[in-house]
């Protein structure tokens, strides 16, 4: 509460109008022990094995249940809270990603990769707290709102052909989930700026100051994410506390110029970096509205094992004790700033070595003395990040534009080997893998052609697939969804799922402007529900724990996304519509005309017979008319009444026709209006 006071005083100064309310809120918070609106910002930096650097920005705002302070917010973005209240969003995640997370070298078994590695483009899922039949309407409105908020074409997710309803394989298992992706969406600063606008300090102070656009978008991977959870506090469900979690994960190449300078012998030395060298900016000052703002440096398990800290054996005692200098004075690297605190991971179940987290408090630094952490490597280090149990990749099989097959292949990684050896005592060791795959309707999947290959041998589907849920695609209506639970033996080396499909043929105006580029098939989600990526760090005061670290402690299942596939579809000739219409209609005219001609053709004898018949029977009127005309020519005056009669006869016929047509037109108009 002491920490909180300063921002509130500032707010009071800025907005005297809210004085009373805020005070009451503050008082109530004191009395009931309720939380105030909070904002905290954190940055985590982690060196990656392939000479790259991961920077993970984590901004968290939370708003207490709205009964305590109405619909006014001090820190929390109003747009988001309105959105939550309007559409009754229980949980939502929106991510904009460019680039592909490299699971092999950047790891897949830590909280950062399993919850922040996202498929390219836009991914959106939301859980709604509305009756079942209102969900689709809420989803539609939500996509439009988000599309406006983030300047992205999220509104394309509105049509039922683009989003799906995962039944149980998607992590927030519930019937009210909607999931949609736009793999081809280009992500750029226009999406970042509205995202930053949700932060109380925008990008004007503290950690957010580092978000320098050119250096961010120069990176190998860039993913901005917005996660929203609203927890209901009362049974009515009207008021809810909202937690908004905004993360930005970038993978950057630190300082390539200096890498060239180093000697050939020192090529394997990791590049040294500092915040100012990567982002071109320094953290100066703090965001006064933030409860905490800190920077972390994470050395992951593999790296720590390689570095051989002096007293690793009794590491636990050292972490508990306050004398932990020996963790940062290591012969292989040097930190430019002394860390404020050092956290050591509690024992993890899947790995022997433990990761180390250095914490730097940004509050201590001011504009005159900006914060800039740097890391200087002295000796070459090589390590591997902890990978997912099975490495998943997906590819197409077959050629041509008529049909093909999608294959999802799972390969064992070094992790599985370790896991297998650990669990080799009990023979019935099984690895559960959930596969969630959405295919657009123009990829017409034959679900009966699902095949399972284990260790490159075709096996019976029922032996390895424990559960399968399929919702086949409807043309232009809904995408095909396949959810499979695989039970693989732990000793498996490779496993593959293949499924055949036919490529659809679209109408000419259903193709995008660049039709020959192909169509994207969204990533499949491979998750391992038996494995949880979590890092538990020992913290002394559990009251005031950092949101990032508590996020790390959450047990989220390990999941990875496969590649986005690009399927080329056959195109019709886009310049042909008129030609096709005219040629086709010509053929129909040929058919109709020639057939009718044959049916009513008479040969000479029949014609004569008909003529005679016509002259006898029905030829009276023309005969009369010809007689009349002859008479008219001969004697003009005599039959005065006949010409008008004949003309009136013609006129009445004409009038009848006109009335008929007009009636039809009126009827048509009436019927269709």
């Amino acid at each position: 509460m002491v920490l909180l006071q300063r921002p509130h005083i500032l707010l009071l100064l800025i907005d005297t109008h809210q004085f009373l309310q805020c005070w009451i809120a503050f008082g109530s918070a004191n009395e009931e022990g309720q939380q105030q609106e909070e904002f905290s910002e954190e940055l985590l930096v982690k060196p990656l094995p392939d000479h790259k650097l991961l920077a993970h920005f984590h901004f968290q705002s939370s708003a207490p249940p709205s009964t305590s302070n109405g619909c006014h917010h001090h820190l929390f973005p109003k747009a988001i809270s309105q959105l939550v209240q309007k559409f009754r969003v229980k949980e939502m995640e929106l991510s904009f990603t460019q680039g592909r997370w490299n699971y092999e070298s950047w790891g897949g078994f830590d909280p950062i990769s399993s919850s922040n590695a996202k498929p390219p483009g836009v991914e959106l899922w939301a859980v709604f707290d509305v009756p079942q039949h209102h969900i689709d309407a809420s989803w539609k409105n939500l996509t439009h709102t988000l599309s406006g908020l983030f300047c992205a074409s999220i509104n394309f997710l509105e049509s039922t052909a683009t989003y799906s309803t995962p039944e149980w394989s998607f992590p927030p298992a519930s019937g009210n989930v909607r999931y949609g992706t736009l793999p081809c969406e280009a992500v750029c600063t226009e999406n970042l700026t509205p995202w930053l606008k949700l932060l109380p300090c925008r990008d004007k102070a503290a950690i957010a100051l580092l978000l320098d656009r050119p250096s961010l978008y120069r990176g190998f991977y860039h993913s901005q994410r917005l996660h929203l959870t609203s927890t209901e506090s009362s049974s009515e469900g009207i008021d809810s506390g909202i937690i908004l979690e905004q993360t930005l994960t970038v993978v950057l190449q630190p300082n390539s110029e200096r890498a060239i300078e180093v000697h050939a012998s020192e090529k394997h030395v990791q590049p040294s970096w500092s915040l100012s060298s990567i982002f071109g900016k320094q953290v100066s000052g703090r965001c006064v509205l933030a409860k905490s703002s800190s920077v972390y440096l994470l050395l992951d398990r593999g790296l720590v094992a390689e570095l051989k800290f002096p007293n690793k054996e009794n590491g636990k005692s050292a972490a508990n004790g306050l004398t932990s200098e020996n963790f940062w004075s290591n012969p292989s690297f040097e930190l430019s700033v002394n860390p404020d605190r050092i956290f050591l991971e509690e024992s993890s179940s899947h790995s022997k070595s433990l990761s180390i987290l250095y914490m730097f408090q940004v509050e201590k630094y001011s504009e005159s003395e900006p914060f800039d952490i740097g890391l200087m490597w002295k000796v070459p280090v090589a390590w591997l990040c902890q990978q997912t149990p099975l490495h998943a990749s997906r590819f197409f099989m077959g050629s041509g534009n008529e049909r093909g097959a999608i294959a999802i292949s799972l390969k064992s990684t070094q992790f599985t080997e370790g896991f297998m050896s650990a669990n080799s005592k009990d023979g019935s060791c099984e690895l559960r893998v959930d596969v969630f795959q959405v295919v657009p309707w123009y990829v017409k999947v034959y679900f009966h052609s699902l095949r399972v290959f284990v260790d490159q041998q075709p096996r019976a589907v029922s032996d390895f697939i424990e559960k399968i849920h399929v919702s086949p695609s409807k043309d232009k209506m809904s995408p095909g969804v396949m959810e499979v639970v695989l039970k693989l033996p732990c000793r498996v080396n490779t496993a593959a799922l293949t499924i055949e499909f036919d490529k659809g043929f679209l109408r000419i105006d259903e193709y995008p402007p660049d039709a020959n580029q192909g169509f994207d098939i969204p990533s499949a989600i491979i998750s391992f529900p038996n494995f949880h990526a979590s890092m538990v760090f020992l913290e002394d005061d559990s009251l005031n724990r950092s949101p990032l670290l508590s996020k790390f402690q959450e047990k989220c299942p390990v999941m990875s996304y496969t590649e986005v596939l690009l399927v080329p579809l056959t195109t019709p000739d886009f310049s042909m519509p008129y030609n096709v219409i005219t040629i086709k209609c010509t053929v129909f005219a040929l058919y109709f005309g020639s057939l009718l001609n044959v049916l009513q053709r008479r040969v000479a004898e029949e014609e004569r017979f008909l003529k005679a018949k016509a002259a006898k029977k029905t030829g009276r009127l023309p005969l009369l008319l010809s007689k009349l005309s002859a008479k008219l020519r001969g004697r003009r005056r005599e039959p005065l009444h006949s010409p008008p009669s004949s003309s009136s006869f013609i006129n009445s016929k004409l009038v009848l026709k006109v009335i008929l047509v007009a009636g039809l037109a009126v009827g048509w108009q009436y019927f269709f209006s």
Partner: protein, 459 residues
């Protein structure tokens, strides 16, 4: 072509039948079925074997077989043929039993065609006799049209491809032939059954009700009734026994009763199998609805797919109506002009439908080409027969090439393939038009022989 037919006719009929069956069996044993089952000429969205298998899989996993837009066939077909789509015999290909069923269906159809053809020939000879034209027309030159039609049906490459390519069209064709056979040999329940099943399977045979009514009402094909009257006027004796019977309503009411009975039966069966999945409405929507609103635009040998891929959305409904009405428009004129030849009328209807239907395949062409064999005697002096023969051969060779260029190699474009489809449609138009004109001329010739006015012999 005529010589060829004669040769076939003189040859032992059964040898040819057995040869064609053996040929089919050999083709079936080829690995992967020669990839015929995925050819667009053979498997349309309605007749595809893979879609049937998908529908069966969905049904087995307790989902509606119409969930998704894969399967568009009848639920009865799914219950009968579905179990054959999965592996039954160890060590044999999956589709073996299914292909054997297709072969049997083909043979049965051929036998029915033969029986009907013989029936028609006898009726024709009888009517010639009653017209006293036996002396003028050399009856010995008369071909056994039943045998020829059956052999055309069995040895036609189109039929073989449709049979080996695992499409459901052999079954659909069998239903149509069953209907015509039943009507010709006055087995009214059988005719009604054939008609109901054929309509249920592919909708278009519904218009065969008109030829069936004529067949039941006045008997099989004969020269126009007027000729008989003229003949008897000339001879000044009115021999009632030699006149063909007039239109009788009895069998038609009988037929309507049976058709009603069978359709109720079929609908009840469908309703039972679809009870928990949306019922009959769902079935009509995804079978007949799918046929009428041309939703699937994958290429086939018809002309509608490319048209609807290219036409503007705004006009789509208009053109859908225009193209379907084109079939309906021709029903009445043809029925008036060819009412004395109901079997020929049925042939013309089948040909028109297979030309204008939304998802045609070679199986449909095989049916009308087989039926064409019934009328070898009437069509003896048809024009352009060599041109048509060459055209069919040319199109059936060029069409796979163009498809390959477009889809597999990517060197051609859709227009290449569409051109062959247009040419094919034109060939069918010429066949129908020339066929009708030849039959009308044949009737004229008969009348001239009766009235004895040789100066009007030229048509």
């Amino acid at each position: 072509m005529e010589k060829l037919k004669k040769k076939i006719g003189s040859f032992s009929f059964w040898n040819w039948v057995i040869a064609s069956i053996i040929f089919r069996l050999i083709l079936i044993y080829f690995p992967k079925n020669l990839n015929l089952s995925s050819r667009p000429e053979v498997s349309t969205p309605l007749t595809s074997f893979r879609r049937l298998a998908e529908g069966y899989w969905l049904k087995q996993s307790s989902m509606s077989s119409y969930a998704g837009s894969m399967y568009h066939g009848s639920p009865l077909l799914l219950s009968l043929l579905g179990p054959l789509t999965v592996k039954r015999i160890e060590g044999q290909p999956n589709h073996l039993l299914y292909s054997l069923v297709s072969v049997i269906a083909d043979v049965v159809s051929a036998m029915l065609i033969r029986a009907t053809g013989q029936n028609l020939r006898l009726a024709y000879l009888r009517s010639l006799e009653s017209l006293d034209l036996v002396k003028q027309i050399d009856v010995s030159e008369f071909l056994f049209s039943g045998d020829i039609a059956a052999l055309i049906y069995l040895c036609n490459p189109f039929t073989i491809v449709a049979c080996v390519g695992l499409s459901t069209s052999p079954i659909e064709n069998m239903a149509v032939i069953l209907c015509l056979y039943g009507a010709c040999s006055r087995l009214i329940p059988l005719a009604a059954f054939g008609w109901v099943i054929a309509t249920h399977l592919s909708l278009y045979p519904a218009i065969l009700i008109i030829p069936v009514i004529f067949l039941l009402g006045c008997g099989p094909d004969s020269p126009p009734r007027k000729l008989f009257l003229q003949r008897h006027q000339q001879k000044e004796v009115l021999n009632q026994s030699k006149l063909p019977p007039g239109f009788s309503w009895g069998p038609i009411i009988h037929f309507a009763f049976w058709a009603f009975l069978w359709s109720v039966y079929v609908l009840v069966l469908c309703g039972i199998s679809l009870k928990q999945f949306g019922g009959l409405w769902e079935m009509f929507k995804s079978t007949y609805g799918f046929i009428l609103t041309v939703e699937d635009l994958s290429p086939n040998i018809g002309v509608l797919w490319y048209f609807f891929a290219e036409v503007f959305e705004f006009f789509r409904n208009f053109f859908l109506i225009v193209f379907h009405v084109n079939i309906l428009f021709m029903i009445l004129p043809l029925a008036i002009r060819l009412r004395h030849r109901p079997c020929y009328l049925a042939f013309v209807y089948v040909a028109i439908c297979s030309m204008l239907k939304s998802y045609p395949s070679v199986g449909d062409s095989a049916l009308y080409l087989g039926l064409l064999g019934w009328f070898v005697n009437e069509l003896a002096d048809m024009q352009f027969s060599l041109f048509l023969f060459c055209g069919y051969v040319g199109v059936s060779l060029l069409s796979p090439v163009m498809h390959n260029l477009w889809i597999w190699r990517g060197t051609g474009n859709a227009n290449f393939y569409f051109t062959t489809a247009m040419v094919y449609a034109c060939l069918q138009i010429v066949l129908v038009v020339e066929g009708i004109s030849a039959v009308l001329n044949h009737d004229r010739k008969l009348r001239i022989l009766i009235t004895g006015k040789p100066q009007d012999a030229k048509s």
